[in-house]
């Protein structure tokens, strides 16, 4: 038993048998004219309990006898109580007209999965935001909270607002950088993708496919690869960009390294990262806009042309307004992805240059605090703030760009 990671097996038994129990039992209950929803719930509880109890019993009994097989056979623990349930539950006369066995058997395990792997971690993250939690310290009996990981109330949020101390200062800097990054990325992305989509939409269908493929390629390319490539382009000594600048007599710039380099007060490193991000990301919105443009009825544009509108007027007064719902979707998605930028910055600058970090963004701050410095509580509180800001921005965008019509 010494070599068995019991915590891991406890999780396996729970997930396997809760899911199988709640997926199969409703089908059997439905077949026997019983309520499939009740069956799903019963299957979930019985499967989880049986998996835990008999998985452990099998492991303890068989480990000394067949150590190689014991762990595998322990996976069958859930069947001990589920099989009798499936076999001996009696059919009833009254039938439910709906026959929702399949529905219950799919929704219940998925809901359980979602609760266990998404809702629970989210709730835990929310809870952690109020605790000085580090996995290294011994905490209380419930989720390790309390005792060595004390409750700190709203202290972290006060630090964020006041900007006091090193953590507060770095948070405010990361928050500013994230907002600046998003403020640069979203409008530039829209300014590039909408006209480009309109141009691509107007070419021959074969070329349309070619362009769409070319522009979409960076989206499916690894971010690390993209970051490395742009890192070479921006390299101060051997980079392509400085090579071009040098050839026209401009002094090389330390794009990713020099904290003094800036353009109109915006750090050069941040601009460099924004360009790399746009290059990789804009193909995604482009494809969406091309699809949206294809859905705009030709009659509307035709009518405008008959009325004497120039191509620019058609684009401005017909195409653009009709793209509003798509602009809403793409801008919301771009804001969310901009707030989540991490890999590109981690590889290109690690948040630098400069002591506080001219490209240090919120996700990088969360990552470093959580996994490098083990300040899980502080990291969780930053993620809560980030969630609230993204939610707020999404609501604002939805309100501003909402349309009352369809075509």
């Amino acid at each position: 038993m010494e070599n068995v990671d019991l915590q891991a097996f406890t999780l396996y038994w729970l997930v396997i048998w809760a899911v199988l129990g709640s997926a199969i039992t409703p089908l059997i209950f439905d077949h026997k004219h019983r309520s499939p929803w009740r069956g799903a719930l019963l299957g979930l509880v019985v499967g989880a309990a049986s998996g835990q109890l008999f998985g452990r019993v099998i492991l303890v009994l068989l480990m000394p006898v067949v150590p190689q097989l014991a762990t595998w056979l322990s996976m069958l623990g859930g069947l001990v109580l589920l099989l009798p349930l499936w076999m001996f539950v009696k059919p009833v006369q009254q039938t439910s007209p709906a026959h929702q066995g399949f529905v219950a058997g799919t929704i219940t395990p998925l809901t359980f999965y979602l609760l266990l792997l998404s809702v629970f971690p989210l709730a835990w993250a929310l809870l952690l935001a109020f605790f000085d939690y580090s996995p290294r310290r011994a905490g209380g009996p419930i989720l390790g909270l309390g005792e060595g990981n004390p409750f700190v109330g709203l202290q972290y949020f006060q630090t964020m607002i006041s900007g006091e101390g090193r953590d507060g200062l770095i948070f405010q800097n990361s928050f500013r950088n994230t907002l600046l990054f998003t403020a640069l990325v979203v409008p530039i992305n829209m300014l590039i993708t909408i006209p480009l989509a309109a141009m691509i939409e107007s070419v021959h269908s074969f070329m349309k496919t070619v362009f769409r493929t070319i522009y979409f390629l960076p989206v499916v390319t690894s971010s690390v690869g993209v970051a490395v490539m742009w890192g070479y382009i921006y390299n101060t000594q051997y980079g392509l960009l400085n090579g071009v600048l040098s050839s026209v007599g401009i002094q090389p710039i330390g794009w990713l390294q020099d904290p003094r380099a800036n353009l109109l007060g915006v750090p050069a490193a941040l601009i460099a990262v924004v360009i790399a991000y746009l290059w990789q990301d804009f193909g995604y919105n482009l494809v969406i806009f091309i699809a949206a443009l294809q859905n705009i009825p030709d009659q509307m544009k035709e009518a405008a042309r008959v009325d004497g509108a120039s191509p620019l007027q058609v684009f401005w007064y017909i195409t653009l307004p009709l793209l509003r719902p798509t602009i809403l979707v793409t801008s919301v998605l771009t804001v969310i992805s901009s707030f989540q930028v991490f890999d590109l910055i981690q590889v290109m600058t690690q948040g630098g240059p400069g002591r506080i970090g001219q490209t240090r963004v919120l996700v990088l701050d969360i990552y470093e605090n959580a996994f490098r410095f083990e300040k899980m509580g502080w990291a969780a509180s930053i993620s809560v703030v980030m969630f609230l800001v993204v939610a707020l921005l999404t609501i604002i965008q939805t309100r501003v760009l909402r349309t009352q019509w369809e075509y």
Partner: protein, 418 residues
Amino acid sequence: MRKLLITILFLMLTVTVVSAQEPVTLRLWAHQEGAFNAGTQALIDAYMAENPNVTIQMETFAYDLYIQTLQTALPAGDEADILALFGSWVCSYADRLAPMPEGVVDTSLFFEAALDGYTCNEGVYGLPQEFNLEYGAVLVNKSQFEAAGLTYPPAWADWEAFIADAKALAQTGNDGLMSVAGYHFTNADAVTFSFLAGILQNGGDYWNEDRTAFTFNTDAARTTLNQMVRMVEEGIVDPVLFNDSANWGGNAFFTGQAAITLIGPWAVYLKEDFPDFGEFDYVALPSFGGEPHFAADSGWGLTVSQNSAASDVAWDFLKFAAATSENALEWNKTSHTIPALRSLVEDEAARDAILADAPWLGSVFPLLPYGRYIGDMPDRDLAFYDIIYPYILDTLQGVMSADEALILIEEDTNSTFG
């Protein structure tokens, strides 16, 4: 009555002998590092040959995974019996480790810098296997010294002689950018350990008297930082082009972009990645000021889990592996590390045995008595890599003044005490 007593005594002795020979299985965790793991496995094999009832199973993890595993396994109590830990981490895990039983090992056998990381609240929580050194000696490139008409290998009498050589070795390309750094000391580790060593060599200290707070805003620290700034001003290194994220010291040296590089002796093995690189040496730096004092991490060593059911056997293995000269010597030779045991440096035969495999360590051995453990910091990585290094790099890059940097370093490092 006497017969009964003799029988009872005989039975007790029999039970004791039987229990002493009961099979004991220990697990040992270490990070994946070929030479280290080979050295440890050899020790395990030797120990098991001497103690047939003991089985030690080594389990290794990739470095990052190992750190995460330690962080989660120790609070959960799932860790192995014996843990290979970096000395500077030990005190942060001390409440989950088994202290050394009284009198198992004479701790004066070890260099203080190597052992002090394992000493927490006056208890010893493990034994070091290596002396970790990041400051004191530098890599020097023979061809670049000869091209500049300088004496090779260098033997700098004082700091000024060193500065003169470094200045002569620096080169600038046609584009106006530095192409060869005369002295590359602007990596995170190099900057931090230079700063700490400079403070000690300039007669100061970065700890207060009872070691409860950092004191970085001092005259010794100011003198040190100004000495570092001076090297930038004299064109010895461009800290924008040469730092942790661009032209890292080890790579810069072996690609001919740095003529002198401050780095630990482990970097000598980077040469394997650059087979065409010419001759080089590893030579001692002159002191900034007085004696060549320097701060050092406590290096890798072995510790015993508090949850080990056979902690006495585990400690016996630690004694066998780290405190027995011949075993420690074999481990140091296999892992190419600096010994933590004084006797291996002081004893001529042992020293020669190490230098036969790693001659460059000859410049390092005389420095070892001047080493001092960095001290038990609340978060060493945070203090080093996110506070001291970025502030000093900003100062070297001309973004902030030395005075401003020292105030902020002191404030921020002290805020890590929580």
